[in-house]
Assembly symmetry: D4
Homo-oligomer: 254 residues x 8
């Protein structure tokens, strides 16, 4: 509860409009729903500009369904990530509006009334680059998150550093973007290249694509962390969600 | 054998009440049962206040059954952890009183005569917090262990740091607890938060929940190890048993 | 601010005893002193039962002096850890009551009026074991912290596992202790041994003593984390302070 | 060279305004100065919005001086980071306008003519939080970089998670900021907390502050990478420069 | 586009033989085919002397088929590595000339017209040694790659260091080779031995063969990296392709 | 070939008993059989006192069969380790005398004529201790290897450090042994304890038994490496074979 | 105390030859001297065949002197390792017979009466090989320890694998040795080579010699752990003492 | 000794031209000089095409001098790497022809008679690229080694990926080289870029330049190991010597 709201409560108490007990009730109202196994954070939409996103990995189908039902009641659009087909099907049975993106492994539920949807962001475009074909699932997760949050997204896949003319071919698109997400496994050099070309913020996503001393994504993570191009920040290995979310956050800055 | 007991033996020998050979037998009595593949430690109950707990991982069903049979003969309550359904079913065939907690993966066998059971500890409550829904199995293992050892346990799950108002909502419960177990994967920040709020001992349990650079629980383990809140100690990744055991141990201190 | 205090404020407001503005002032009172480079947490004493402890490593002498001056004004006893001789001498110039423990590298400032000092805890003794002679500085830090917090402390050093009769010799002392801190570097096996002998909580402190594949304390840290004795918890490498603090916290439980 | 410029060259060639050889000269003009040991990238200002920043670590004093002289000739403001006092003094001898920030270890050279300076960014404020006092040098590097790039910067230091009321006290400042940099060593939990409170982009900077299993900054790096708060991105350990640069980049987005 | 070609274009423009627009078209011709999920690099053959090699791991069967179809249209010989039987069979349906090497897991497609094939390299022989029998699949991948690139290859398998007379028996073959690839897991000592015997370039390939502290190939990787024999270079764990490619590259030097 | 044998050859040549060509043939006789995929080292028996042992992991059934057939022809007893049931059954079809030890995963083939068997070593007994029940397979591999090499072996399993009286109970057996193998996972403290009790060589075998920060055997490996008891050496994680082999080697010393 | 001795005590008590109190005194006699900071283990000589060896690293000069004085009183020969010149000089002042080996960094004190010295072991020779010149200090520590324990030692240094003929030149010496210690840094391949040549036990000592990815001895440690030659065991990085001690232990087996 | 030489010896023996004893002497001639602490490998020049190179790190000045004196007697050119100024000065006193390269830290001794020097290699040029200014010492070591081995070397420094136009500016030089060495710290992306541009063998050298998660060169090592450009091989961190040596080896192939 903000100080402003609390001061207002106190003034109502001082004015006799509110009894202390009632003021305490309002004060202690908990902006989340307690499902026992989960505390659904309905307040996050206000606090963070987008409702809580359901991370499905490690949750039972029943848990995913219950959490999503709770969210759908209060929010115009609800997103779940890392969802299996089985989790999706369990959700679909209870929430008809649920839609599945198999590549990105996301579930989206949108309310019919479009006016409640996040307004389409008109500030600029988020460009999502992937170094290889195998990095596409992570890139698509980022894209799905950015799109559901109201951004215009463009994808350019398989422009890794082994043939830099492929990247340079898209230089104009890169320059025109407002925010750039770069997804890469193995040596993870693509974010450094892109960061060296333009003055747009680059969000680097290492992936677990590779083998041997790629060590499940450790190699590209370290590469990106040590990027000699300024303007490059990093999220967790395979964290397409985090990149899409952060990109959306800065794309709506004004 | 304690020196006190040995001195007593010697006095009995000196008094002619005991022959040296008999004294030696008593001295060398081995307080364990040798099953070949296992040495069941029947002495642990005396030494540690609770009988040996059977860790089922890596044991065959036959081994689990035999070890539990040996323990059940001597102790009013017997606990096994990390038990699969198959191991439980094998035990159940031989020991009718066996009960399975699927979430916590524990098997408990209690003797009918309640008076032999660990007395309900009346000193205080052990509070078990989990950061996420996926951490619940580890939290439940801790709870099951603490309960079987005679403690009153309260659970509050999914109060991770991304929405701190969920945690603050339970501040009273946290203050009222005698001992607090905090279970968290991914970034593992919850124990630091809880440790900063109250003056109760916090037992932090990192979990393998997470992906990428969580490195199977290494990330939350290191976070907890380096906690800047005093009063936080750490057990092994996913070691709900260890946390529940230690919590019980200090909850009965007086 | 606790809900109880807030409710009281509201009742005072309702009773006209307090104006909303004054209530807000009391509500928003910040229980710390802002020194710019540090926010001294004067509230911690209430919240955690002991004032903020100053960790001197990485702080300039000037910073240490200023923070300690701020603390000394409000608290009967003040503790600083990891202090160099130079830091101590800088403090001593400004705070005559400062005392230095060279082995433990702690500075303690006690107010003259003894009645404000933490009451001597009479519940039991904290026993501090070290595996080797080189582990003594860390063990002494734990001892100094536990003592300044009002506990009776006993030390037994150099009872490592290579000659287990040295440990068994002190078995009575170990059994008589209320809480046991075990400090060990290299292979870090001592906590497992002690944990197997008695039913007292064991707080294991890995040290950076050793060479080669001890990897600056990683080896004993992992040993202790994976201890097969129940009732063992772990703090950070060389963290004598954390062990002493936690031991004191559980030693005063009732 | 952009395609547009090349097309223009070709049109000039077609129109006979330019001979092929001259066109080739313009085409191949290299926008950097070759000092042998360094290729000073004068083009970066155009490409990235700020001239090349000199990373002094591992360079001789002579190298730093020569590179800065080359940059100063072409740019209104020049920045060097990780500069020792010795490197600064060598620069100062040759470039009278050089100024040193001892805490941040930066050298800044500004041309007299203010109109060439980066315009003060009026979009919003960059808030820099540090968890501890020892993290201040890294935080100051971030601040120095953001300021020299034309941003308004606010600092709040030592608000680590062990006493969360210190952080909450500054909640308004946190909410008012446009971009937030959070600098933390040891357990590195502060970015998660801040990220959970507001909807502003959080740039997390792990530091090498800590000891034992902090492993020179690895622990807070992993904590931040695995942050359960969305909207948190990470830069390299102790990389105040990278955080300040990226913050400036997104602070000027519109 | 090389400067020479661009100068020629400009001269044609100057001579009126080419309009600026046509020159721009030729200039901007993108030497890759955009399949959406992949950008097939048809230019690589010119740039690197061999067409792009398809790395099948992490690609769907459909993706592999489409990429190979695109390559087969433009190149006389096409190679895919890390192909499963299923991927091969999907390719075979569409490209009748596809051939599978089960041991090496490679697919090769050769055009009928032999004259377009890479000429048989007559400079020397590439010798491929493996330390153990389990290393053969990696060694065969190297062999398959070297052969398809036109080299004469000889294989000697299972000559590990535990019985050095087996290696010395082949000393003549080793001396006669032009380039030597040494494939080894576990302790990875074979490259050091071979490198100590002859003055031929040794390309060391660590494999994930082994268990325990071989850590999936980390042990032999580090051994080879630290080889005390000069003339030894290293590629990624299990990277038979990289070794075969590099060996071919230096085998055709003159 | 030893110098002594070569000198003898030369003397025969000098005496005209042998022509140079024949001498060269004898000199260059290669004491291994080349199966292509394997070079079976028939010389090892002479050189190392026991024929080459077949490590079955990573080999096809066909490869195992062929290598064993080659060995069986020349040696009275042949051993294979890490054999699956399938590999054993393939061997059994071709070599009727093959026997499988399911627990130890070994295949042994003994020739009928007992006099060719390794003589029973009468110097002393090899004692094999395991810390837990789950460590038994590795301990049994060590036992199987030591037995097939002609040693008398005694097993004592599940005497881990959590209940040290179990270990002390067997102190006499420990003192009577000539060589001791200690197999332990998790914290790996048992070898240090045993090494502290007696003056017999202790061969420590870390196992991958454990979870979380045991990191697949890394924790006990480091514990054992840093053992503070002198007289302890270490072999690879789960390497029962290596321990049994080395124990046999020193047990026959005189 | 052994059971045999205890039984004897009891029989004396039964016979009235000993009062219970006196028996208890003898029983509880602690075979170590308590110096406070150290418990000198005078019993180790009986238990392990050689008195406690003083590891000087991390001990103050005063501590080293006191521990050695205590040992010298009870034992004919006393050894200290990792001693600095300063520690030696402090010892020399108090114990005139102390001798320093600068290369091995050992201090040895021998009593005048030779008959009390460890008898020269006549079973065989311990051969110590080093791969490089920089490995000599570790090799010399091993040699010093083995010699003071009564063994005949031979040294062959700088016979690393880059020039294997240097090793083969000493093949006879290698074959004639009873036990072989192999000291190597960098790639650590020498123990595998030696282990492949002969049937003598090989004790491998990795050293911290090397740079880059040798990672302070981790690389040779892993190489040796994964040695494909049977009969190789490993001690800690730079642990010449451990190798010399173990070699002596098995060299005196009969 | 080669078989051919041995056969010749035998024929001489058969012909009575040589007595067996004399043949044995020739056979056993050891092509190295035994200095005790070092075995100088005079045979390496024949075997590897260049005499043994002295690695000075970890050697005393006296050792370096003696080894170089031994080498200088037999070889026209002698090289030492990683030499300190002190080591150089010690050498210079004894060997007047010694020359020091301070940047590369090499000592070279050339005999006056030029005809004995390695002939200048005329096959092509070795190009040495460095990503940054701080990488120059490692690059210069590579250059010094390649030059002393008779190669023509070109250097282009500070062309890192943050400003790729600097690299592309030198594209012609890159295309003209016969072999390319790429030296880079931090993110280590330069070898991938260069490898993607041309069909020349690329030898990648990671350096320890960087901070934080560069982990002393681990980050660029992993980047290079996982390079997605074919034709890239890797040597140890900071191993300029190894790169220069290998480059020279393949540059003289024909």
């Amino acid at each position: 509860m903000s100080d402003a709201k609390l001061r207002k409560l106190m003034e109502q108490v001082a004015a006799g409009e509110l009894k202390p007990e009632e003021a305490m009730k309002q004060y202690s109202f908990s902006p989340f729903e307690d499902l026992g196994m989960a505390k659904v954070d309905h307040h996050r939409s206000t606090r963070k500009g987008f409702p809580e996103v359901v991370f499905c990995e490690g949750k039972t189908e029943e848990q995913v369904v219950k959490i999503m039902q709770s969210l759908v009641e209060h929010h115009p659009v609800v997103l779940a990530t890392r969802a299996t087909v089985e989790q999706y099907e369990a959700v679909k049975k209870e929430i008809a509006a649920a839609e599945y993106n198999k590549l990105a492994r996301t579930i989206v539920v949108r309310k019919a009334a479009d006016e409640d949807q996040p307004a389409q962001n008109d500030h600029g475009r988020i460009l999502i680059l992937s170094a290889g074909t195998s990095d596409i699932p992570v890139a698509e997760e980022a894209a799905a998150v950015a799109e559901v949050m109201g951004n215009s997204v463009e994808r350019v896949f398989d422009v890794g550093a082994a043939g830099i003319h492929r990247l340079l071919h898209f230089k104009e698109k890169i320059s025109d973007a407002n925010v750039i997400i770069v997804v890469a496994g193995m040596d993870g050099v693509l974010p450094t290249l892109v960061g060296g070309l333009v003055d747009k913020p680059v969000i680097a996503v290492p992936t677990s694509v590779g083998y041997g001393s790629a060590f499940e994504g450790l190699a590209p993570l370290l590469t990106m962390m040590n990027s000699c191009s300024p303007g490059v920040v990093v999220v967790n290995i395979d964290n397409g969600f985090g990149a899409g979310y952060f990109a959306s956050m800065i794309n709506r800055m004004k």
